[in-house]
Structures are given as structure tokens and as C-alpha cells.
Subunit: 473 residues, 2 copies
């Protein structure tokens, strides 16, 4: 039943200049979704991709999302590209998600080359979007083209959902998907997203978990306006002094959370799951150096990965309402809002985390004994996501990677959230696979973003192998 | 020897419309020193005042201060008006300081009237600068005019130093005064500044002390760039968590400083000095309500005034380098700088305060045990200022106030710094008197600034009486 792909893989290697040319075209379109002056380019990118999908026989439609207010202007939202390739009732259906927009970039930010000109150097393809996420999106296109060129019938129907607002909060997409639940999303059996990264640079991996988040605002006030620190200093309970004291009670120096019971909600680590950490390729010293830290709270590989992926963490972000400029300003701020967030993991529930956190803050505040006004409140939250590493979608991905790379991929998690993952899982009720193609050092969102030539070409093979493996999934 | 001023005072009362007209003209000149587009008006104000001083026989010169960079433009600094009225070698010499520039103001800020049109209502003269400091500056002019009109010889020579940059940091003035030490400033026997306020609204006072200041920057870093809190949260020693913890060790909830030995440097309070607090008119409840606080760290009148005026205080101002906008941002800041300042009083020395504070911060940091990089450093500092309430200049001011108001003025201090006070004292080596004319509710720097008609007119009398009293000082 398994189709031999040896010759096709060789053809893909030989087709490199064409693969590169298409990526060059895509990178040249400055689809920066966060920049209203580039909104037309972002829309043009969606149309460009529509043509490419239509050229391989996909029935495409552009779902209109209306407008948004951006920097005081009303601007059109880029439409979402929905494509259907194959409607064979005897086949299962794969839904592929990707995004066509990119982060801002300018040579003056510190790029070595023009960010919107694809430049190949030392086996690396530099350019904004080369890895996040235009490269992976084009890998899907190339994979299907390669199959078609070799008259290989795809064992599944493929649907595409490519948006142009991912880097700007996916405005409008969750609502669209909600509306499409019983139409475009009906009949989907598998979902695959290729918009994340390997843990390192050599060994492929599959991602089976993401952390969720609970954000918090802690407001302290008690004087009706900002006060001169000379005139009033010493005879006022300062809101900012209260706030910093309260926030200082949230964590230990080693970044462990002091809110009672929070760790108790974490799903127990089974011996089997713990064992999977043994084989994961991860260099703690390299990670520490990449961050620039002298020491980390833990430098044990397993403990560190567990803390990043399957334990909650609490980060401080800043304070609203206090002086933030350079230099000095001798004012006592009257109303300050501390911002922090807690990353959550299964089986933590956002409501429970919010409740325990606000309860702890109120308890700490009572200990403070300040007459000021204290208002802790939860902000937005997102649930954690974890998939069964033994489901058929996940195993098809693993077999595909082994076929291309010759090694069993690491099973990893990510510490961050990719909210659309959970949306797809909830609306389709099916397994979502995160199948990363790029290396950890691709510098997504940063200067000198690149995609390795090798990752790009092997990515095409991996996605083709994955589609073929889904035939026996 | 004492000249009877009864008739002159009556004439001053009768001259009210002229006093008001001159203030109207001055307020109409929009001498906002912080606004480069109003720089010409600020310069025009200096020239306007020069004409007025010349009209009473003052020999005037304009000291050029060159230019400054403001909002990216090179703009001319307003000259300093130096005037000399009388050079009688047998008389002592009084130096008067005041400023001709004002804070910004616009009706749209919440003024009830046009800020640059003097409006009289309910015995109040509303207008920007009516109280800070055009009103008091004109009181000097009116006082001398009244003496001249009545052929009363001034018992002292008078020198004037009126600047146009006080609201913008007195750029260039200290350097000018340094250069003028042996010329314009030579032979000065008394200095008087009328640019502060009564403690309340009814009872006059004289100000004999100002607090100094020591500013501090506390920098924490340790990671080389801002990090995504999802990807890195939980495995990093966060600089912002360290900073807030360290700052939380600086004070108690009641705003007392925890730095060892700081209070030990405060000059002991003698029984005689303590007794002066008994008679001071100050309503704690009114003060508390004006601030909008539910409770104050102390609500005992004497303790509260001691804490504002003759004890150090420590205020938090904010953090540079962390997220400060509205909403949420899930970033771990890589380098944060906490800002706080300590108000100091005699006999505290800035060097000693800086040393003890940095030493305490380093000790606390060692207790924290974080591997991050910690750099506490002192910012600018200013010495406290206190004058002998029994010196001849101060006693002349007190007699003048008693002559006009019929009551012994309160002896007060201010919690803030007026750095030019110390500059004059150091360069002349003579006593500087702060002689406030305006009421505590004059709203300097704020919307609806006003000068009470009563304070304005009595102010003219007070300054005349003070000049006359200096004859026997």
C-alpha cells in the first residue's frame, strides 16, 4: 500500500530552483498585516496564493472579514483563502492551516540584506516570511505539485485555510471558522498546522502540547491625582509602593509561583511520559547562552523542559500609570496597574487559576494593611492544548518524518499558546497536528529571518510523505 | 526711625485698578518657557518687565544665555533681566529674584476662562501666572512705585534678577550667577524670593527650610533581549521580578525608610523648634481630603508636618524598560531601571545618603541571590536648605508681615527643593528669605490658577514694609 517516494524525492531535490523562485516571489510581497500602509500588499498576497492553489486544481473562495480600525483609520481586512482540493466521499479529509502575512521588517532594523528580497547565502534563504510562514505554506503547494507531476493520487481530500492576519491577532478568523463549522469545516478528519519550530537545528520533532495563559491586572490607587514627591513624600501611602510589594509576593527568586495550590492542578507526570524526555535532543548550555543568562533557575535538561512545557510559570510584564521615560521625574503616581500573566498547562482550568490568583492577591493585600484601593482582576485567558501522541494523525506525522529524515522525531511541547490550534480542535472535534519544518534558529519575528535550504526542501518531502501516510491513518 | 505707612497702604488699596491692569498686561503675554513656539513671547515678557523697571529708575541689563535645543530645534534662551536700583554705598543691598515665565495653559485643559486673559471673579484674579510668579514680581514693582510716589526714600539699594526659564529648569541661570559672583552679586546683603505659598489660605507665613533630594536608578538585567513569556516563562530569572522585590525592601507600608542609619543623620529637634509647630495653622483633615486619601500614615498635625519638612522621605516614580501601555503584552523585559528618590533634610549629606542607599541596595541584592546583573546608581542630588529664623533678614520679613496682617507669621518649611535658593546663598554668602505672598489654593501649575485680590494687594504692602524694615535690619 505504501507508495515508494524515492524518485519523487529526487525530483524535488532537482526542482530546487523552482521552489526557490516561488519563495522569492512570495517574500517580495510585503504583506505586513500590522502596517495599514501595507494592507493592499497583504491582500495581494492572498490573491497571489489563490492563483497558485487554483493552478493545482483547488476550488478557492475568499471569505470576506469586513474592516477594522487601525491607527485611527478604517482599513479592509485581508480575506481568508479557503480552498478545497478533492471531494471524494471515499477519502478522508485533511485541513491545512497557514498564514500569508508577516512581521514588519526594514533593513535599518539591523538586517544584513533587504528583508523583502530573498537572498541565498551559505545554504540559507534569508528574507521576511521565508520561515514564518510563507516557506511552510509553499511546501504544501510543492508537495502536491510533485505528486501530481508523478501521477500519484492523493489518498485524502485536502482543504486549505490560509489567513492574512496571524501576526496581528487573527482578527475575525475565529468568528469565521465558527460560522463555517457546519459547511467548510464539516467532514474534516485531520488538521495540520506547520507554523512552529524544531527544538534545535538538527533533529525533527512533532509538537503535541501548548501552554495556555491567564493574564492579570492589579490596580492600586488611593490618591486623586499624581502628587509632587517633594511636597507630599513621606505622608502618603504610595500606590506604587503597595503594588511593587504585592507583586514581589507572587514568585520566588527562582521563578516558582507562590500562589497556593497552583502546582497541584498540574496533570501528574506518568513514568512513560517522563521517559520520553530522556531522548529529546536539547542542549541546556546552548539555550542558556542564546538567552544571555549567567545561570538558569534549573540547568537539568528534563527539569528545564518540564518547566517550559508542562508546568505553569508566572511572568511580570510591566506597570501602567507610572513614569516610564528615561531620566528622572519626581512624581508620586496616583493610579498604577501591574501586569503579569500565568502560563497554564493541563489540567489547569483558567477559571480556577483566576480564582486562586485573585484570592491570593487579596490575602497578600490584607497582610499589607494599606488603606489604598486594591483591584486585582483577570484579563484574557486561553486554555492549554495537548494531543494524544498515539492518535492516527500524530503517528502519520511521525512516520512521514522518519521516512524523510531516517530518525524518529522528538515529541515536544511549546511553552507558548497558538490559540487557533484549540479553535480547530474544538470546531472539528478532530486531532490537530503541529508539524514544524523550520529550525530553532530561523529567527522568526527578528532580524535576518531565514529558512535553511535543506529544511525547505526536506519540508516539501515531509509534507508529501505525511499526506501519503494519512492514507493508512 | 520707623516710617509710618498707614497713608501709603491706603493709597495702595485705592490704586487697585492700576495694579490689576498691569497684571492683566503681564498675563496676556504667553511666556510659556517650555513651548518653543512661545519663545518669542517669553523673550517679549522679559523686555516688557525691563521697561517697567526702567520706569522706576532701575539701571537694567539683559544677560544673554545663548541657545538651547528644544524638541529638535535650536531656540534662543530668554535673557536674564538684571536690574540695579540705587548704588548708595551707605546702604545695604537687597537682591530680589523672581521669574517671568509660566507653565503651559489652554482653555481646553479644563480652565473655566481663557488662561491668558485676567478675569476677576469673587475677589479672585484668574489667569496663568497671576500667582506663579508674575503677581509677586509685580508686587515688588508696585511697592517701590508707592514709595516713590510718596517721596519715601528706600533704606536699601535693590537689585533684581528676573529670569524667563524657571518653569523649564532655569537653564543657564546657575552658570550666569556663577560668572556674576564678583560683579552683579557682589555687595548683596540680603536675598528675597517670593515664589512659594502659604501653608493655608488665611495666615501668612515665612519659609525657612527646603528639603534636598537624592535620586536613584536601580538597573537589573541579565538576559540579552526581551523574551516571549510563553517560550521562556519559568526558566529565567526575570530582571523585573528582581527589581520589584528589591524596591519592595526600601520602605514600610507607612512610608518609612528601611535604609539603616538614614534617620540618624537628621538634625535633632530641639524643644524650642518643636514648640514652633504648636501654633502653626494646619488642618490635617482638609489636607487629607485635598489629596483624596482614605487615611494618612500619620494624622497628627505635628508628626505630619515634621515628616513633610524635616524628615527624609522615599518615593517611587516608576520603571523604565518594562511594558507601560494599556492592555496586555506578554514579554519578559530584559533590562529594567527602577526610579526612586529620597528627600533629604539637614544634617543629611547627599554623598552619605547615596553611599548608605547603594550599600543597602547591594546588601538586599545579595540576600535576593539572583544571578542577574544589578547596578544601583545615584542620579542628581540637591542639598537641603535651612535658614536661621533669627537672622536679621528673616526677622525683617516677620516684622513686615505683622505690620500688614497684624499677626505673627507661621514659620514653615517646604518639602520640595527650590535649587536657586541654595545657589544664591552659596554665591552671596548671605541670608535668603523665602517670603510667600499667595494662598495654598492658588493652583500654580494647574487649571484655573488665581491670585486672590486680597493677597495681591496685601502683597504689595508686605514687600514695601519688608524693604522698609530692612533699613533697621
Amino acid at each position: 500500500m505504501t507508495v515508494d517516494l524515492t524518485n519523487v524525492f529526487q525530483q524535488i531535490d532537482g526542482d530546487y530552483e523552482n521552489l526557490k523562485e516561488l519563495l522569492r516571489e512570495a517574500v517580495a510581497i510585503q504583506s505586513v498585516s500590522g502596517d495599514p500602509s501595507k494592507r493592499d500588499e497583504t491582500i495581494r498576497m492572498v490573491h497571489w496564493m489563490k492563483e497558485k492553489l487554483e493552478a493545482i486544481g483547488t476550488a478557492c473562495e475568499l471569505a470576506d472579514l469586513g474592516t477594522q480600525e487601525l491607527e485611527g483609520k478604517t482599513v479592509k481586512l485581508p480575506p481568508v483563502l479557503l480552498g478545497t482540493l478533492g471531494t471524494d466521499k471515499n477519502k478522508k479529509t485533511l485541513l491545512v492551516y497557514g498564514h500569508l502575512d508577516v512581521q514588519p521588517a526594514a533593513k535599518s532594523d539591523g538586517w544584513d540584506t533587504e528583508p523583502f528580497e530573498l537572498v541565498e547565502k551559505d545554504g540559507k534563504l534569508f528574507g521576511r516570511g521565508s520561515s514564518d510562514d510563507k516557506g511552510p505554506v509553499l511546501c504544501w503547494l510543492h508537495a502536491i505539485r510533485a505528486a501530481q507531476k508523478n501521477n500519484i493520487e492523493l489518498p485524502v481530500n485536502v482543504k486549505f485555510c490560509f489567513e492574512g492576519m496571524e501576526e496581528s491577532g487573527s482578527v475575525g478568523l475565529p468568528e469565521l471558522l465558527e460560522r463555517e463549522k457546519d459547511r467548510f469545516l464539516s467532514g474534516v478528519d485531520f488538521v495540520c498546522i506547520s507554523d512552529s519550530y524544531w527544538l534545535g537545528t538538527k533533529k525533527p520533532c512533532l509538537t503535541y502540547g501548548l501552554r495556555g495563559i491567564c493574564s492579570f491586572f492589579v490596580e492600586v490607587t488611593g490618591i486623586k491625582q499624581d502628587l509632587h514627591s517633594g511636597v507630599f513624600g513621606g505622608v502618603i501611602h504610595e500606590p506604587l509602593q503597595d503594588l511593587m510589594w504585592v507583586m514581589a509576593q507572587l514568585t520566588t527568586v527562582d521563578n516558582r509561583i507562590k500562589i497556593p495550590g497552583l502546582y497541584d492542578q498540574v496533570a501528574p507526570l506518568s513514568a512513560a511520559e517522563e521517559k520520553t524526555y530522556d531522548d529529546i535532543e536539547f542542549d541546556v548550555a546552548e539555550f542558556r547562552d542564546s538567552v544571555g543568562a549567567a545561570h538558569l533557575p534549573t540547568e537539568d535538561k528534563k527539569t528545564l523542559l518540564l518547566r517550559r512545557w508542562r508546568e505553569p510559570s508566572l511572568a511580570f510584564h510591566g506597570i501602567e500609570g507610572a513614569f516610564y521615560g528615561p531620566g528622572e521625574k519626581t512624581v508620586i503616581p496616583s493610579k498604577v496597574i501591574g501586569k503579569f500573566s500565568i502560563r497554564i498547562v493541563p489540567d489547569m482550568e483558567p477559571e480556577e487559576v483566576n480564582r486562586r490568583t485573585v484570592e491570593y492577591l487579596n490575602k497578600v493585600w490584607a497582610e499589607r494593611g494599606s488603606p489604598n484601593i486594591f483591584k486585582p482582576r483577570p484579563g484574557h485567558s486561553a486554555k492549554p492544548w495537548v494531543v494524544d501522541v498515539n492518535d492516527s494523525n500524530f503517528l502519520a506525522g511521525a512516520r512521514a518524518m522518519k521516512r524523510v529524515h531516517g530518525v524518529e522525531p522528538d515529541r515536544i511541547r511549546e511553552g507558548c499558546s497558538i490559540p487557533i490550534t484549540l479553535t480547530f480542535q474544538e470546531l472539528t472535534g478532530k486531532s490537530v497536528l503541529l508539524l514544524p519544518l523550520g529550525a530553532a534558529d530561523d529567527m522568526a519575528h527578528s532580524q535576518n529571518e531565514k529558512n535553511n535550504k535543506w529544511n525547505y526542501v526536506e519540508g516539501v518531502k515531509t509534507l508529501l510523505a505525511y499526506i501519503m501516510e494519512l492514507g493508512s491513518a
